[in-house]
């Protein structure tokens, strides 16, 4: 099976701080990580490769330093890496991002499956995976929690995690599947993989390489624009009851009664 995994390098939001004056993210000094859902996608691809053979190619659109994220997936066991990088891509929204990635994927030749994360932890739109499927005109199966492939019959069987129920669907090769966190536990990089990653070469594709239509690229190719980013005002502080345990319980029950809850 030939599998393409799309990954995004994101700031480690567990370490992100908000500048209280401007209400914007302080990005300086915040380490970058692979979008966690994308690690699940990589893991799913590696499991399929172990079972059915084939090749896992990891692709990202981003600045040159995103190569680090790609290398980390080689250390996990991926085979090849592609960095789609060009100044022309700056300011892409989800439309432009998915267009750019789909153009790059077309250049990579035949594939059976594209795996994405469900969503990126910074942009959070969950649109890029489906966007790629639309641009390529192939089926998409989102929110995958289980994934089996049947290369002989050229199809996948996917269990989708929906809000109330899980749904099992089949889709023919080639298609896009997006992974949720519950799908698996991503493996750690291995020593062998780490050594391979040091030596591995990143294939870089520019706007020209992917024969992209400039009007679909970057800021100009992006139909949406971010008007303002702000932190919602903090909710009013709760009331803290103090005293010895017995006393607090009494006060609390009083409050609940006051509100006619009991």
């Amino acid at each position: 099976m030939d599998i393409i995994v799309c990954i995004k390098q994101v700031p480690d939001t567990t370490e992100v701080k908000i500048n209280p004056e401007t209400n914007t993210l302080i990005r300086e000094g915040v380490p970058s990580i692979i979008n966690p859902f994308d690690e699940n996608a990589v893991e799913a691809a590696l499991v399929l490769k172990e079972k059915h053979g084939g090749k896992v190619t990891v692709i990202t659109m981003g600045p040159p330093q995103a190569a680090e994220a790609l290398k980390a997936t080689i250390a996990m066991g991926a085979d090849e890496m592609v960095l789609v990088s060009d100044r022309a891509f700056a300011g892409s929204d989800t439309w432009a991002t998915s267009y750019t990635l789909s153009q790059a994927i077309k250049k990579l030749g035949n594939f059976d499956l594209i795996l994405c994360g469900k969503q990126a932890i910074d942009g959070d739109t969950a649109q890029v995976g489906p966007g790629i499927a639309e641009w390529l005109g192939i089926p998409q199966v989102t929110f995958a929690v289980k994934l089996e492939a049947d290369p002989a019959n050229k199809k996948v069987k996917v269990e989708r995690m929906l809000e109330e129920i899980n749904e099992i669907v089949e889709a023919p090769f080639p298609c896009v599947v997006t992974a949720v966190k519950q799908m698996n536990i991503p493996r750690l990089p291995s020593l062998k993989g780490m050594m391979r990653a040091k030596k591995a070469e990143v294939k870089i594709l520019s706007a020209q390489d992917i024969e992209a239509d400039p009007k679909n690229l970057g800021l100009n190719g992006s139909p949406t624009s971010v008007v303002r980013i702000f932190t919602p005002p903090p909710r009013g502080g709760g009331e803290v009851l103090t005293g010895e345990a017995g006393e607090i319980v009494g006060k609390l029950i009083g409050k609940i009664k006051d509100r006619k809850i009991i």
């Binding site: 380490p31 250390a75 066991g77 536990i185 493996r187 750690l188 990089p189 291995s190 020593l191 062998k192 993989g193 780490m194 050594m195 040091k198 010895e244 345990a245």
Partner: protein, 485 residues
């Protein structure tokens, strides 16, 4: 100052992570600064009320558990007071109250480009308590125990007097201390014993010409209360890699550790067969063939990484380790590594022991390098003979494996106790220690007697009485109560 007397609310202070039960006290005092603390001690001193100091209760030896009197808890002495960074930004010290967690110390150091080198596994422990037990961790192999990073402490004695004790000021002459503090003369002899030449945290630190500060560090709340400490931080300069290698044969893991010791990696930790069985519950990716594992960490300068990877892969290959199964991570942040993996181990064992319904019989023994193999074989032979379920893991870099015996019946529990005493005697006979990092507390006093004999413990009692003449502090910690009479 908050004083809690309601028994329901304070009973948490009558426990730690040991199985010692039956603790009791009249009240828990929660002072917020050194003055309040001194006042509590002074009043207790006048009324002859025993005082037990409490950290965050992660101790394993019952040290903080009171048997009467009051508890002096550090929960509200929880502020970092100062961070001093040198002009060239190369050196820093951090001044802190005792109730700050290691986690917070680490976070503050890190934010400023430094780290606190001692790395006891349990990050929720309070700094004051870790100095009182001279805590250490896997990186003690390279960095040494807590005491190496203490520049100054403020100790409050049982009469409320505050002893400001900087390092490098007051020394013993051979084994005699003779100095003046706050207008009062202190003159006393140190115990005559020799400490074992291994990682060690059992009984008072004693060495000819020693620094006074080292007497208080590791004294487990029996000499005075650590009210403030100035810690030395280290600069984050090198990158770190952490590796977990799995071996088909446990003995290969042991042998690999011995081989790499002279190469001085930052830390080397051992996981025996039963440890891996437990860990598989949380880490299903542990290879099924593995019966032993080594976790090790190495520092490297940016640029020399490939060379370092080559070195380790060469060595691991000699032991037939599958390099595809060697987990690794790298970071420019020394504090990040496989800490969780390592930390799971004692927690998993504690769960197993809780389920067994018997109290834990677990070791903190360390032996000299030359005896590492003999001790390992002795553990393996003895548990095999008596068919015990046991778990062996830990700081193999310093020949400090934690052996945990998990009995299945009351009879087995008794046998396990006896067996453990055999381990202690074996270690002592080889020049080892009965406690390398957790301290003696209330539970390991009989082992301290094995190490230093009654004479040694009585000599410690004499030192205690210099600072705590009425014997009110940390009673029954380290020194048996009746040996204070």
């Amino acid at each position: 100052m908050l004083i809690k007397r309601d028994q329901e609310t304070i009973k948490g202070y009558f426990e730690d992570t040991s199985s010692l039960s039956g603790g009791f006290a009249d009240a828990v005092y929660l002072p917020e600064n050194a003055q309040e603390t001194a006042a509590v001690l002074k009043e207790a001193g006048e009324k002859k009320t025993p005082v037990t100091f409490s950290g965050n209760g992660t101790g394993t030896t019952g040290g903080r558990i009171p048997f009467g009197g009051i508890v002096l808890a550090t929960d509200k002495l929880n502020r970092i007071l100062d961070l001093k960074i040198s002009h060239d930004k190369k050196n820093a010290t951090l001044v802190t109250q005792p109730g700050v967690t290691l986690e917070e110390i680490e976070a503050t150091a890190q934010k400023n480009g430094f780290f606190y080198a001692p790395d006891p596994t349990e990050q929720t422990a309070f700094i004051g308590a870790t100095l009182s037990t001279n805590a250490s961790g896997s990186r003690t192999f390279t960095f040494g125990p807590s005491r190496h990073y203490v520049k100054r402490i403020k100790v409050i004695l049982s009469n409320g007097e505050i002893l400001d004790t900087p390092r490098g000021r007051v020394f013993a002459k051979d084994r005699e201390f003779n100095f003046e503090k706050n207008g009062k003369r202190y003159q006393f002899s140190l115990p005559s014993y020799q400490m074992p030449h291994v990682k060690h945290s059992a009984g008072y630190f004693v060495e000819p010409n020693m620094d006074l500060i080292d007497l208080f560090i590791g004294s487990e709340g029996t000499l005075g209360f650590i009210a403030e400490a100035e810690l030395v931080l280290m600069k984050k300069e090198k990158n770190i890699m952490g590796l977990v290698a799995f071996f088909q044969k446990e003995i290969d893991a042991f042998n690999f550790a011995q081989e790499i010791k002279p190469l001085k990696p930052l830390a080397i930790e051992f996981f025996g067969e039963t440890s891996l069985e437990l860990l598989r519950n949380k880490y299903p990716k542990i290879p099924s063939y593995a019966t032993g594992a080594i976790f090790f960490e190495d520092l490297f300068a940016p640029g020399e990484e490939e060379k370092v990877l080559e070195k380790w892969s060469g060595l691991l290959s000699k032991y037939n380790v599958n390099l595809d199964d060697v987990w690794m991570n790298e970071s420019s942040d020394v504090t990040k590594s496989f800490k969780e993996f390592r930390h799971e181990m004692p927690e998993l064992i504690n769960e197993v022991i809780k389920q067994s319904g018997f109290s834990k019989i677990s070791g903190d023994i360390a032996v000299p390098d030359s005896k590492a193999r003999e001790m390992y074989q002795f553990y393996k032979e003895k548990v095999a003979e008596s068919n015990f379920y046991y778990v062996l893991f830990g700081h193999i870099s310093q020949n400090h494996l934690h052996i945990n015996l998990v009995p299945k019946s009351a009879d087995e529990w008794k046998l396990a106790k006896e067996l453990y005493m055999k381990f202690i005697r074996k270690a002592v006979s080889m020049g080892g220690t009965v406690s390398a990092e957790h301290g003696i507390g209330k539970l390991k006093k009989i082992y301290l007697l094995e190490l230093y004999g009654e004479k040694g413990v009585r000599e410690m009692a004499a030192v205690k009485k210099v600072f705590d003449p009425a014997c009110m502090l940390g009673i029954d910690n380290v020194i048996k109560k009746d040996m204070l009479l």
